[in-house]
Symmetry: C2
Subunit: 366 residues, 2 copies
């Protein structure tokens, strides 16, 4: 039996019970909305084994890179939305996937790109990206560009897509609900304008984990995308995407130095193994570069990772028992931001309790 | 001929001319000190092809992970220093490498670990880590623990090692020189105390790129370690490790959105492709998440990457010509911190001018 004492450090751990719980919670939340499907975003987990749980039966998924699109297609996930603005140079790769029988949809908010898509010989179903308040990408729902892009796409127009990443600024279910409703109103305005102009708008896609959970209703929407909910992290726990204990992903680390004079231990998980994400800096509770747990997954006092170098992380804080953490002792670190921490590792070591039951590859890079 | 228009985006570029220049500059700086060898730290480049330039003739190198140690040994680099505090569980892997004819040295500042090393059957030459003011790892040069650890190591004691990472707080050659001299004084005190107690201290190893460049003299030191100087970055340029233009590594990105209303473009290089390192935040000039260059490597006005999402980076700033950056246009991004940005990519695309001449693998992960 492999245990947490047998793995190399640093390693990325994935708690299967928590993963299943997080996936079930989101599935239930989306099931409240008849006619709305969940199209889980695989950018966080980047793993076909996780996709088999989050999108059972090779269901529809969302991806963030061409490399993910290829990998998940090879694992049988044919219905994909590549949810990052497409550029003409990437159309060939998508067309090749679709020529193999996949249905990878692309997105754009750009007229010249829409023309390139229309002029391409390949099958390229395209959603127009609509900005519903996030201010990242997309045309405004009332912008004339919306109609011009749709006209350029012609029969390749497959729908509209929005992202409510600004839900992460919310701090209560009421605020999340408000963002979700504004997103819905914005994308429905865009869909109505397109339909009024004679276009068919099959897909109305919204997304973000908090909005998917807290939307009061999603009338008119056909699908919702969410990704980080599967793994969870310290930031999502604080904005209510999942209960505080339901962080499925942790980094296993060894103590490599013990310094009673400054009340700190050094770990072999640093900036690379944890990432330099500091998203809890603006959350109610700042966990530095991560929260320190024992091997059973229980917080060790108030200890956090206070600073990181490339391969060194320094942990300190009230309740850190230095005498019980000699060099070679092992701890686990909960991440601020699961997407970034997981991307530093090439596989998940899957655990059930303290048993290591599998290794699941991740499809990193581009 | 492959050009920057043919590569996928995002991609990591390595400018061979700049790399060679940076390597030559450091080699010359260290050659000022008779009897001192350069043991380049491969944690930044993580590439055997780069090691062949920085440590010609399969010379001595420094590594930061067991995976690097194995990879570089397999590429003929037998003399290595694994410069992160060792834990007992990692001794077997080192002993296996050394049984194959390599000389991988380990470091510790811990008495119990020294005893584990002494009791291990393998060949495990060990340096005692000394804290010369950085406050990260190591015993103080005047600490009694130094002698206790040496006594425990017995014949496995191979020398002493220090890290002057606090040189990064310096902002002038005079400050760097001061840190380098304090490092030298500290490690020589440790070496003298060990020798006075009857121990042989073969290796006296110091390190950090700024200290290696600016040390006035290194009498008593046998080797210096430095790594980031090879690639360079926006932070190192500002503290004087290399001239501002000598940043060898950039991220090639495509424009995926163009937003005249807010004077910004979106790029397909975000938090994963660039890292979330913000080290220029405390430098004289803050470059956000990176500086925007054209394909020839010239800054585009004052444009920087102002915010990042997982796969999106937003670029803006004075002099960003939105009309010449349509969706599909390409730019290059100089990183804040080369070690972290490079680690997000599995290979370097090596360029000479605008020609892509090779792809060099990187050994990431653990």
């Amino acid at each position: 039996m492999t245990t947490l004492h047998d793995l190399p450090t640093p390693s990325l751990l994935l708690d299967l019970d928590i993963l299943r719980r997080n996936i079930a919670r989101m599935a239930q939340a989306v099931a409240r909305h008849p006619g709305v499907i969940l199209r889980p975003h695989m950018k966080t987990a980047k793993s076909a084994a996780v996709a088999d749980l989050a999108a059972p039966g090779k269901g529809p998924i969302t991806v963030s890179t061409i490399t993910e699109a290829r990998y998940f297609a090879d694992h049988g996930f044919r219905d994909q939305l590549y949810a990052v603005g497409i550029v003409p140079a990437k159309l060939d790769a998508i067309a090749v996937l679709n020529a193999e029988g996949n249905q990878v949809k692309v997105i754009t908010d750009d007229l010249a790109t829409a023309r390139a898509i229309a002029g391409h010989a390949g099958v390229l179903p395209t959603l127009i990206e609509v900005d519903v308040g996030e201010g990242r990408a997309g045309v405004a729902p009332d912008d004339d560009a919306l109609l011009a892009i749709a006209a350029a796409l012609g029969p390749k127009l497959a729908g509209v897509v929005a992202h409510s990443g600004h839900s992460y600024a919310g701090r209560s279910p009421a605020e999340m609900e408000q963002v979700a409703e504004a997103e819905r109103a914005g994308i429905l305005l865009a869909a109505r304008r397109l339909r009024d102009a004679g276009h068919e708008v099959g897909i109305v896609s919204v997304g973000s984990s908090p909005a998917a959970l807290y939307a009061r209703h999603l009338d008119g929407v056909t699908e919702t995308r969410a990704g980080v909910y599967m793994l969870g992290d310290l930031f999502q726990a604080q904005i209510g995407t999942h209960p505080p204990d339901d962080i499925a992903v942790t980094v296993l680390a060894s103590v490599i130095g013990n310094y009673p004079r400054r009340g700190a231990v050094l770990l072999d998980a640093g900036a690379l193994a944890l990432s330099k994400d500091r998203s809890t800096e603006r959350a109610p509770r700042d966990f530095g570069f991560g929260r320190v747990l024992d091997l059973e997954g229980r917080p060790i006092g108030e200890a956090i990772v206070t600073r990181v170098h490339q391969e060194h992380g320094e942990a300190s804080g009230p309740g850190l028992p230095l005498d019980r953490l000699p060099v070679g002792a092992r701890v686990r670190i909960q991440p601020n931001h699961a997407c970034l921490t997981a991307a530093a590792h090439d596989r998940f070591h899957v655990i059930e309790g303290s048993r290591v039951v599998a290794a699941w590859e991740r499809v990193n890079h581009w």
